[in-house]
Structure formats: structure tokens, C-alpha cells
């Protein structure tokens, strides 16, 4: 079977980069020959060990659940507030200073305050992550709302489209590129913060596992968890973000 040319070059580039990085890692590990720098082989063996005999699957599922919940809350609330700020200049004026403060409060402070005020509970962990992410979603969606083409909204008004139709068929599609940018950056930020939240105040999840591995100075274990989690994030990218990319590109030149 002959593969199309663009697929061959795509595979060559993607697989080539992964193979080259793996080879570099393995040879560096051989050269350095230190327990602080485990080889790729020992990391893969560690993945296998934690996967089969440890709590890796359970911890990853727990972390993913937290990531998903915080992500949905942050995107929904951030999206709604961002649209309101972009559309209503008075609301924007009233909330702009608060937004700047929220953007600049360190993630660690929010996490600690949430744990102190609400206790070491699941809701506090998820709230802490969502509060950290909401301001960046607000900023992106607000900027997107400001770029919405008023000429197209005028078409909706002239042809008396219902508010729902105007929102979903005319307004929202113009925000898709901003929503996907917020979602992509959101996911990467959220899973990093979730690990800190777990490290500080939960007794399960990838963050908790990494803390335990750190206490045993199990570097291969730490890298194994990172490796497994990155793979899952890549899978999410392929399964969820790529199809959304296609939706965003709908009707663009050359489609």
C-alpha cells in the first residue's frame, strides 16, 4: 500500500522527532551514567511497574477528573464573564481592576487560601484550580468578543433572527478561535496547577504520587508519571482539540 505523500512526510517528521529525542535521552543517560539521570529504558520499565503494580491508573483517573471539572468550570464561567465584559463597557469598567488583580495573584496563594477557608476537601481543590484559570479565559474571550463583526450582527438584526439563533449561529462562531486558544492554554495550565493542589492537600492523584516518589528520590518514577500524563494530554489533543480545529477552520479559504 502506498501512503499519500503528505502523510509520509507528516509521519517522518513526528515519528522522527520522537525517535531522535529518545535516542538523545538514552545516549545522554549512558554518557552521564548517574542515578539522577535515569535512562529512557528504565523510565519505560518504571511506567510498566507503576501501571501494573502501583496506583498509576487510579491516580491518573483521579487527576483527570479534577482537571476535567476545573476545566469545565473555568471555561464556562470565564467564557460568560468574558463575553459580558466584551459586550458591556460598563460591566467591563466595573470589573477590569478585579480582573487584573485576579490575573496577578500567585496560584499558590489561591490554593492555600482555598484550603484554609474551605478545608482540605475536593471542592476546595477544584475551586482553587478554577479560580486560577478563570481570569486568563476571561481575558481571551473578552478580546475575542471585541473583534466580533458588527456588520454580521446587523444582518441578524435585519433578518430578525431569534436571540438564540443570533448567539449560536452568528456571534459564537466568531469566538471559536479564541475559545480554542483559551481551552488549549487552559488545559496545560490547569493540569500543572492540579498537581500542585494535590501535592499540597490531597491524598491521591498524580501530584500526591509525585510527592511520595520525591520522598523516595525515585527519579525514574517521577519521569514515568510525567511520561504517562503527557501521553494522555496528547491523546486529549488528538481526540478533542483537532476535531474542534476543523470546526474553527470551517469555511476558511482553501477549505
Amino acid at each position: 500500500m502506498i501512503l499519500p505523500k503528505h502523510l509520509v512526510s507528516f509521519l517522518l517528521v513526528r515519528v522522527g522527532i520522537v525517535v531522535a529525542l529518545s535516542a538523545l535521552w538514552q545516549s545522554m543517560a549512558w554518557l552521564i551514567a548517574s542515578p539522577d539521570f535515569p535512562s529512557l529504558y528504565s523510565v519505560i520499565k518504571s511506567v510498566q511497574f507503576h501501571f501494573n503494580e502501583g496506583d498509576m491508573v487510579n491516580n491518573i483517573l483521579i487527576t483527570l477528573r479534577r482537571v476535567l471539572l476545573s476545566f469545565i468550570i473555568a471555561m464556562l464561567l470565564g467564557g460568560i464573564i468574558g463575553i459580558m465584559m466584551g459586550v458591556n463597557s460598563l460591566f467591563n469598567k466595573l470589573t477590569d481592576s478585579l480582573l487584573i488583580i485576579m490575573l496577578n495573584i500567585p496560584a499558590l496563594v489561591t490554593i492555600l487560601l482555598c484550603y484554609i477557608w474551605f478545608g482540605l476537601v475536593e471542592a476546595a481543590a477544584i475551586a482553587a484550580v478554577a479560580i486560577n484559570k478563570i481570569p486568563t479565559v476571561v481575558v481571551m474571550i473578552r478580546e475575542g468578543t471585541r473583534t466580533v463583526d458588527k456588520d454580521l450582527l446587523a444582518v441578524a438584526k435585519i433578518y430578525k433572527l431569534s436571540a438564540t439563533k443570533t448567539f449560536f449561529s452568528v456571534f459564537l462562531p466568531q469566538l471559536y478561535p479564541f475559545i480554542i486558544a483559551a481551552a488549549r492554554s487552559g488545559l496545560s495550565l490547569i493540569w500543572k496547577i492540579v498537581l500542585v493542589v494535590e501535592l499540597l492537600g490531597r491524598s491521591d492523584g498524580v501530584g500526591f504520587a509525585l510527592n511520595t516518589l520525591f520522598q523516595f528520590f525515585d527519579i525514574a518514577g517521577i519521569l514515568a508519571y510525567t511520561f504517562a500524563f503527557v501521553m494522555i494530554i496528547l491523546l486529549i489533543e488528538i481526540l478533542f482539540f483537532k476535531p474542534f480545529d476543523k470546526l474553527v477552520a470551517r469555511g476558511a479559504c482553501g477549505d
Binding site: A154, Y159, K160, L161, S169, G251, D255
Partner: protein, 256 residues
């Protein structure tokens, strides 16, 4: 069929001391095709936006009467009366780039009216282009989609704001003919803004000439040439020449 009554007295832009429209009083009779000509910046588009309700009309009088003289218009935005009676074809086609040609027309219709779309696309010569996105069409084809979208709702009043600008001459001529055919077929009342006198003579029953801003009506001319007319035909050119000999500065918004 619908009649349009416009009485505008000193329309200001928000935060401006200078009126853009000073005094405009005119009526467009049911089924009449009225062209409005005026110099750049005289407020032609503002006038159309006021008629359509896109621009604030508080304190002004814009109303519609149906032929049976049933009145629904009001003094405010003017279009919040019967459903789907107003079509607007803008300078740019203003199609949703993420929707196909067919979806763009579906957008302004209810699902029970979707069956009309194929016939309408055939009428504007786009019968095999329903699945295309606007970016895959030429400028002329995009205008045709915007014409089809406007006629999809079977408008009683159609507003057009220099819709054939920036098109090559043969395409613009074809679209003018298409517009005329559809308007005659459906008895649509039309207000057509243009800066092209020969286009106005070809299309309109009456031409209203506007002055510089703050605008007033400086002249109204009934185009008493038989239909169908010709683009740059002898009679049409003669009519134009006679008008401009009588009022040499008419297109600049003056009759001195």
C-alpha cells in the same frame, strides 16, 4: 405591497453637534423602485440604516403602510411590525463565512421554508453551489447569494446600499437585471442607494437627489422611460444628458 413614509428632521450622530440629515420628506409608493443619489458622506447609508432600524430613529418618523392602508409603523425603530417584510442588501455581501451558501439562506428562514432554497438558488444561477462556502465563490457569486438571501424572506420592502460596487461591468449588469426581474416578479417596494446615475436610470421609477451633509432633497426626477430599459441605451443617455444640462451640479448635491 408596502408603502414607505419617511419624515426626518435633523438627525445627529451620537456625540455630534452637526446634523447629518437636515430635512428629508418622501414617500415610496407600493411596488415603486426609488433610487437615492447623493455625494459621498451625505448620509445615504445612514438613511437606509434608519429605515431598516439599524440606526436610532427616536424623534423621527418612519412608517410603513400596507396597500390596504393598514398601518403598522411607528416613530421609533420602524421595523418592529410584521415579520420578515424587510430585506437589506449591503455594500458587502455580509455572508457568514462559516456557513455554506445553503446554510446562509437557511439562517434567515424557518425550517418549514427550507424547500424554497433550491428554487431560489436556481433563480440566481447558483443551483449547484449550495454546498460551497462563501470563500470558494467569486465576488459576483457572493452578491448573488446575498440577493437570494434577501428574496428568501419575500421582502415587502427591499433596501440596497450600493450593492454592485467594485464589480466588473458585465457582472454588475447581470446582477442589475436579476434584481429587476425579482423585484418585478414579486412587486417589491425598493429603496436603492447609489452614486451611479446611469445605474439609477436603468433601474428606478424615480430618483431622489440629496445635497451635501446636512442633507436635504435637492431634486426628484421621475424616470419616464419605457421598460425594459437598456444599460447606456440612446434614450437613457439622452435622458441623463438632459437632466445634467438642466442641473449641471446635481451629482454634487446642488441645483444652482
Amino acid at each position: 405591497m408596502i408603502e414607505l413614509n419617511v419624515a426626518i428632521n435633523n438627525k445627529y450622530y451620537p456625540n455630534s453637534q452637526q446634523a447629518v440629515l437636515a430635512q428629508l420628506d418622501f414617500t415610496v409608493k407600493p411596488g415603486e423602485f426609488v433610487a437615492i443619489i447623493g455625494p459621498s458622506g451625505c448620509g445615504k447609508s445612514t438613511l437606509l440604516n434608519m429605515i431598516s432600524g439599524l440606526e436610532d430613529c427616536s424623534g423621527q418618523h418612519i412608517s410603513y403602510n400596507e396597500r390596504a392602508s393598514q398601518k403598522y409603523g411607528a416613530n421609533d425603530s420602524g421595523v418592529n411590525n410584521q415579520s420578515h417584510q424587510l430585506g437589506y442588501i449591503f455594500q458587502q455581501p455580509r455572508l457568514m463565512p462559516w456557513l455554506t451558501v445553503k446554510e446562509n439562506i437557511e439562517l434567515v428562514l424557518s425550517p418549514s421554508q427550507y424547500h424554497k432554497i433550491d428554487g431560489l438558488l436556481a433563480q440566481v444561477g447558483l443551483d449547484n453551489k449550495g454546498g460551497y462556502f462563501p470563500s470558494q465563490l467569486s465576488g459576483g457569486m457572493q452578491r448573488r447569494v446575498s440577493i437570494a438571501r434577501a428574496f428568501a424572506i419575500n421582502p415587502q420592502l427591499l433596501l440596497l446600499d450600493e450593492p454592485f460596487n467594485s464589480l466588473d461591468a458585465p457582472t454588475a449588469a447581470r446582477l442589475r437585471q436579476l434584481l429587476l426581474d425579482l423585484c418585478i416578479q414579486r412587486g417589491t417596494t425598493v429603496v436603492f442607494v447609489t452614486h451611479d446615475l446611469s445605474e439609477a436610470i436603468y433601474l428606478a421609477d424615480r430618483i431622489i437627489f440629496m445635497s451635501h451633509s446636512p442633507s436635504t432633497i435637492v431634486h426628484q426626477a421621475i424616470v419616464d422611460l419605457p421598460k425594459p430599459r437598456k444599460e447606456s441605451g440612446v434614450a437613457e443617455l439622452k435622458w441623463q444628458a438632459q437632466l445634467l444640462v438642466k442641473y449641471p451640479h446635481l451629482l454634487a448635491g446642488r441645483i444652482d
